[in-house]
Amino acid sequence: MRIVVPMRAVPDLVEEIELTADGTGIDREYLTFVLSEWDAQALEEALLLKDASGAEVVAVGLADDPEIDQVLYTALAKGADAAVKIAAASAAGSLGSAVIPTADRAALLARYLAAQPADLVITGVQAADDLDGQLPSTLAAMLDLPHASVVVSVETDGGSVTVRQEFAGGRSHELQVQMPAVIGVQSARQAPRYAPITRIRQAQQAGGLTELAVSPPAAGRGLVVRRMHRPEATGHAEMLTGSAGDVADQIVGLLRARGLVKG
């Protein structure tokens, strides 16, 4: 069984996000990019399938994405069998901007998957910046494959997979889906495994990224971004200031007034 895991990095949400001067994009220069947390979960689920049944796991990324080499080498260090970096054969349209629209991303991946089919495509259910929709179902629609998202476990069973799809409040459905299929993972059955930095370095030194040129897709009918801005708070918290001890005193005072701290 061949499992392809599309992966990418997104801006680190712990840091402040800078916008470009014209206010229609995020400024890539001052941002730190980290592996999209849902892609980390997707890779873990694929590696669990490999552990259980000996599947081949291929991590795939786009050459125009920030930090893609780091993302793919880390996947190799965690146990992926191969890593492929897809480059658009000529620079076109929006590729190369800070955020590649999902439709363009999916079109490139769909071309790759049409040429080298997978039994299962497992990727993150969403990404922090996928304004025009999520990758799994975009890709599935382009490839005409069955798909399910917000999945919290994937198990293979002959020619099909059994997945658990989650809804608000913890309700879930168990679905049986024929392969080939595309699955959008919310969380893996266990926390993503850790790759020691030494093993990532080893993967880098060994090379092992296959580069592949794919002809770029025709520009689709995307969204027109008018403006990006930071949210303006309608209300705002009263800020407690001073040392950590001062702030703790004020919070304990609030709790004591409500009888939640005795004394």
């Binding site: 995020i26 059994t162 168990e174 889906v177 024929q178 800020m239 702030v247 609030l254 709790l255």
Partner: protein, 315 residues
């Protein structure tokens, strides 16, 4: 047009929020509000906010099944040609929105918290990057799809008691040749304790950084004698069980006090705790969206604050 979400018995609150917004947009455009109801037709009686209910009935639509819903909706879209399709940005919207965008050939805006008509064009505001950036987009063309965050709009207007016309659409043949099936439905598992019943919650987010640090917030929760809860990233990382997750994909809570530690305030989280009586938030980023709804806030580092709190509470 709005896609109705339901459990088979009850139409969801989020559906009414979308119907209310759809009525406003339809009135601005001089059109009508339609609701697509897949599955049990008798639920049309709960959709009095619609002018027309478009019903598709088929055994595969009794419970939500991605491929069945997608095929039925494509048939409805082909027959009714709405200007705009509104869906929730929860599981069903994440599952179907982008696929329908490809197959119905319409632009999609996701994570939307505001939606307007400006000079005949549909404009939407999306909350991306964990709610840290608002993006105003225009959906070009004659049709579009919008997936909307929960609690973005009021449900009141969507709960009118009109008598909508029910239009039946024949199920497409594809529903008899699906490539997936529903095996089992699991109801929510309340687990070891019910955080939605707690008087106070100590809740921890991405800012806790590592599983080793969970101990210090657990110590604070123990000192207060209240449960520890978390935002989605902490639960997805496996540091706390799913039964402790607060948010749109977890549980909605309404404690007297909600102490948010290292939680930035992504829309998914805010939806689960915005109704707490008193919200106190600790986050080192002064621009974190959580401060927009918290009553009290501090940018002191949680790793400095929490040990002080434990000391003072233990006396």
């Amino acid at each position: 047009m709005v896609l109705a979400e339901h459990t088979g018995m009850q139409v969801s609150e989020g559906t009414y929020e979308l119907v209310g917004k759809a009525r406003e947009l339809a009135s601005a455009l001089g059109g009508m509000t339609e609701v697509a109801l897949l599955g049990p037709r008798d639920l049309a009686g709960q959709l009095g906010g619609a002018d027309i209910v478009v019903s598709v009935e088929h055994p595969a639509l009794e419970e939500y099944l991605p491929e069945a819903y997608e095929q039925a909706l494509l048939e409805v879209l082909a027959q009714r040609s709405p200007r705009l399709l509104l869906m929730s940005n929860a599981t069903i919207g994440l599952d179907l929105g982008a696929a329908l965008s490809v197959r119905w050939d319409a632009p999609l805006a996701a994570y939307v918290s505001a939606l307007e008509i400006e000079g005949g064009a549909v404009t939407a505001t999306a909350k991306i990057l964990g709610g840290k950036v608002l993006t105003e987009v225009e959906l070009p063309g004659e049709r579009g799809i919008v997936t909307v965050l929960g609690s973005a709009f009021s449900a009141t207007e969507g709960q009118l008691a009109l008598t909508p016309e029910v239009v039946q659409v024949a199920p497409p043949a594809g529903l008899d040749a699906l490539r997936m099936s529903l095996r089992q439905v699991f109801e929510a598992d309340s687990g070891d304790l019910d955080i939605s019943a707690a008087d106070m919650l100590v809740s921890v987010g991405r800012g806790i950084e590592s599983p080793d640090n969970m101990e210090i917030v657990q110590e604070l929760a123990d000192a207060l004698g209240v449960p520890l809860s978390a935002s989605r990233p902490v639960v997805d990382a496996g540091w706390l069980p799913k039964t402790r997750q607060v948010g749109q994909s977890g549980l909605k809570v309404k404690p007297r006090v909600y102490l948010a530690l290292g939680i930035s305030g992504a829309p998914e989280h805010l939806e689960g705790m915005r109704n707490a009586e008193l919200i106190i938030a600790c986050n080192t980023d002064p621009g974190a969206p959580i401060f927009g709804i918290a009553h009290y806030g501090t940018t002191v580092d949680l790793f400095d604050l929490v040990p002080e709190l434990v000391d003072k509470i233990r006396g």
